[in-house]
């Protein structure tokens, strides 16, 4: 590694650490100013004043804010994220349980969004102003404007309850649950590794509908951005030159124009994927999907500080990592960035 590269890597690392520290501090302060009493989640509404004060002290809430934050950060630096007061589990164990469900859902949704959104965006740009363009734009617009909660319920009503094409809420049929020892926590992967294809099929059937709903929103975003990037490229001189050289329209579109669009699209896709990895609370609620979004929301509404901070930190790390990967991919795709 050259000295220049080492300096850049160190700078990047410092930025990441600073970002994560800032994220922790902001989350900590926000959770402390939310007008919810964290002791209530532990002792309930009826506890005596003595019990209330004792639990408050046990949670460290009788200490000044900076002491509470300092203690938490010290523990985190030693790899101790503490326990959730709601689940009684180590926060790391909770995250290991809930995060894979979100990763599985977000990955499937993003894959759908990419596989359908990019071609639709390219086609819309190529046929700008045509009925096909209008149709794709309407599809995109609906994806922006329909509430995900409503779409999820409608999808369940039609495809699950009425015509029975899709499996119901949850990650598995209830009678398959607890039969598979988790390796990665990703049910498709774990069941394939175990060679248990009945569970694999059940997991895939349950994944399709929520992934389809979330994928639609991802598709709407990606197709819209693809169309916009493509329109910019199609007006460039090198496209006119390619056409003048007699290249087929398909080659002009899919190789020349799309090739140049891929770089900004990587950022779009990474941002879309990262936002899904933070957890889609409403989709998780409608589909009874035990993901990190519901876990964090429930923890936040009870001011379960260890869970909130640990979960936020993990989501922050994922967000930063996905962005870093996008950055690296960007450099790979664009020689000028190397």
């Amino acid at each position: 590694m050259t000295p220049k590269a080492a300096t850049a890597a160190l700078r990047l690392l410092a930025q990441v650490l600073l970002t994560l520290f800032g994220l922790l501090l902001a989350t900590f302060l926000i959770a402390r100013v939310v007008p919810i009493d964290p002791v209530l989640a532990v002792v309930g509404d009826r506890a005596s004043a003595e019990v209330y004060q004792r639990v408050r002290a046990e949670l460290g809430l009788d200490q000044p804010l900076w002491v509470q934050f300092y203690r938490y950060v010290s523990l985190v630096l030693h790899g101790d994220f503490g326990r959730s007061v709601l689940t009684r589990n180590l926060v790391t164990a909770d995250i290991a349980r809930f995060l894979p469900a979100t990763i599985e859902l977000a990955t499937a949704a993003t894959a759908l969004g990419v596989l359908l959104g990019i071609p639709l965006g390219v086609l819309a740009a190529a046929r700008q102003g045509s009925w096909l363009d209008q149709l794709i734009r309407v599809v995109g617009l609906l994806g922006y404007s329909i509430p995900v909660f409503w779409l999820g319920l409608m999808a369940l009503l039609v495809f699950y309850a009425e015509i029975g094409w899709a499996a119901g809420p949850g990650r598995l049929d209830v009678f398959y649950e607890d039969r598979l020892a988790p390796t990665t926590g990703l049910l498709l992967v774990d069941s394939a590794l175990a060679g248990d294809w009945a569970i694999f099929r059940s997991a895939l059937a349950h994944l399709l509908l929520p992934a389809g709903v979330l994928g639609y929103f991802s598709l709407a975003y990606i197709s819209r951005m693809t169309r916009s990037f493509m329109l910019d490229q199609l007006g460039e001189e090198y496209i006119v030159t390619a056409r003048a050289k007699g290249l087929s329209e398909a080659r002009v579109l899919w190789r020349h124009a799309l090739g140049n669009v891929l770089m900004p699209l990587v950022t779009v896709i990474a941002l879309s994927y990262a936002s899904l990895l933070e957890g889609s609370v409403l989709t998780e609620t409608v589909f009874a999907w035990p993901g990190i979004g519901s876990y964090l929301t429930n923890s936040l509404l009870s001011i379960d500080m260890n869970a909130v901070l640990g979960g936020t930190l993990v989501v922050g790390v994922i967000f930063v990592t996905v962005n870093l990967l996008a950055d690296l991919l960007y450099r790979l795709l664009d020689p000028r960035m190397r």
Partner: protein
């Protein structure tokens, strides 16, 4: 593709003796009977553990034997002797003894978690527990209260969740740092009830397996699976598809939508939760007696029940829930805006006034608050809604920063003293008070009524005691800054081929044992 996958998973059909319920269970923070206080946790513990004494599911004032076959009060009025049955056993087969029962009560008092307040009603404390709760032999449990209290109150406290009997040897084998096994028991079970805890994943599901050798008879099903399904609409769709046998949290509209469908049935059980408005006496308008009375005539009780609540509530206007000793079913208030306007004019508030109401941003609270906003406006009271998350609203209520609070309250144990104390007793109105009852939360105190609560608590004659509570409630209706409106009815929607779920007078009295698929 999805349809193909579904055909491939057709083997996952439910065994006939397994029952699947959908319910929001993310309120459970512990499965330790000495710590459980929330509704869903109470229901799980109620099916995993036995209490010494039980109540008839629909009649909480009527006691029936559980682990204790009989109970005697000594001539001193302080000594209670309970004789335990010999055929009860824990999940690991060990017999239930009086030593386990004594340990369970002592443990709850020494842990001093929130539910300990129930046993503290009897004068028992963490310091005197060892001396006052004893097991002289294998089958006799003796409790000696420091002061005389009504025997009914003692027995009622022994029917509550905190008095569940845990297996001493198992619990203490998992004790750490003097916690009496609390950390372990929060996520495990050591009971003698009709079910054993097979799986517990917080905010995901719990699975209970039946104990075929249960002393009360083997449950009619082999396994109960309760899945965390937060969204009521999702529960309904799963019920329609047959993926759930019971949907536990449907709202009034969803219940109405399936009520005529022959494939489904609705089980209803009146519970002890009371819906009420609390008027903070720190607000200068709400402090005036005429305003308190006017507001009681500005609630469209029947209209709101019809339009918003459906089968989930019944009209009830007193602090003791129906079924309790001394409960009354008087409905002295009706929607009468003209009378309310006259009362406000009498108070010099003919032009009305501005006031806010804190309310949970969920059904049915928000819908009720909107209905109240409209009916209050009929007398010129401009009601501003402040919706918030449940714990946020409760935090503000406990800090006495509200004007009007719309909430629900359930007694801690099935004895009239619980709610009488809550809605009347406020011996210290300072912010540092030890007792933060609803009376305190609304800065209201009435020493004459409070003295009558204390007398009723000690009255040993049940009939006279019932009369004391009836009189207390009628006087309370007249002058207290509380507007009692409804009593909660739990409605469980279920498939027509399944039946037998017992909805008791509180979540901790809901029983799975008789559920059977026909």
């Amino acid at each position: 593709m999805s349809a193909l996958l579904l055909s491939g998973t057709a083997l996952a059909a439910p065994p006939r003796d397994t029952i699947v319920m959908g319910k929001g269970i993310d309120d459970i923070v512990s499965l330790d009977p000495a710590e459980v206080y929330e509704a869903s946790g109470g229901e799980v513990v109620g099916n995993l553990y036995d209490r010494l004494i039980d109540t008839e599911p629909a009649a909480p004032a009527q006691l029936r034997p559980a682990l204790a076959l009989d109970w005697q009060v000594g001539a001193d009025g302080l000594t209670y002797t309970l004789t335990l049955r010999a055929d009860a056993h824990f999940a690991d087969g060990a017999p239930v003894t009086a030593a386990d029962a004594a340990f369970s009560l002592q443990r709850a008092l020494k842990l001093d978690k929130a539910p300990a307040l129930v046993l503290q009603q009897l004068g028992l404390t963490r310091d005197n527990a060892g001396e006052r709760v004893r097991a002289p032999d294998e089958h006799r449990l003796v409790i000696v209260t420091p002061q005389p209290v009504a025997p009914g109150l003692v027995f009622a406290c022994l029917t509550s969740t905190v008095a569940s009997v845990v297996e001493r040897s198992v619990v203490m084998a998992h004790a750490q740092e003097g916690d009496f096994g609390n950390f372990w028991l929060a996520t495990h079970a050591a009971g003698s009830g009709p079910y054993r805890l097979a799986v517990w994943h917080p905010a995901e599901r719990y699975i209970l397996d039946a104990d075929p050798a249960y002393w009360g008879g083997a449950p009619a099903n082999r396994r109960i699976i309760v899945r965390h399904i937060k969204e009521a609409a999702t529960q309904r769709l799963m019920l329609l598809r047959g993926d759930l046998d019971y949907a536990r949290d449907l709202d009034a509209d969803q219940l109405a939508a399936i009520s005529g469908d022959p494939r489904f049935r609705l089980d209803r059980g009146v519970q002890t939760l009371i819906t009420y408005l609390a008027l903070n006496q720190r607000n200068p308008y709400l402090r005036r007696p005429e305003v308190i009375e006017a507001i009681k005539y500005l609630v469209d009780y029947a209209g709101m029940a019809r339009a918003v609540l459906g089968p989930t509530r019944i009209l009830h206007q007193a602090f003791e829930p129906q079924g309790f000793l001394g409960a009354i079913d008087d409905l002295p208030f009706g929607y009468d805006p003209a009378r309310a306007r006259a009362l406000l004019a009498e108070a010099g508030l003919g032009q009305g006034f501005d006031v806010t109401i804190d309310v949970r941003n969920a059904w049915p609270s928000l819908d009720m608050a909107q209905a109240l906003q409209a009916s209050f406006a009929e007398a010129g009271i401009r009601l501003g809604l402040i919706p918030g998350d449940g714990k946020q609203v409760l935090t503000k209520y406990r800090a006495r920063h509200h004007d009007i609070f719309l909430g629900e309250w359930g007694p801690d144990y099935p004895d009239p003293h619980s709610n009488a104390e809550a809605f009347i007793v406020n011996p210290d109105n300072s912010d540092q008070a030890a007792k933060k009852t609803p009376a305190w939360r609304n800065s209201w105190s009435d020493t004459a009524l409070a003295a009558r609560v204390a007398a009723a608590r000690e009255e040993r004659d049940a009939a006279r005691r019932a009369e004391l509570y009836r009189a207390l409630q009628r006087d309370h209706q007249e002058r207290a800054p509380f507007v009692f409106m409804y009593q909660y009815v739990e409605v469980a929607a279920h498939a027509a081929d399944v039946d037998g779920f017992v909805i008791g007078r509180g979540p901790a009295r809901n029983r799975y044992g008789a559920i059977k698929r026909r």
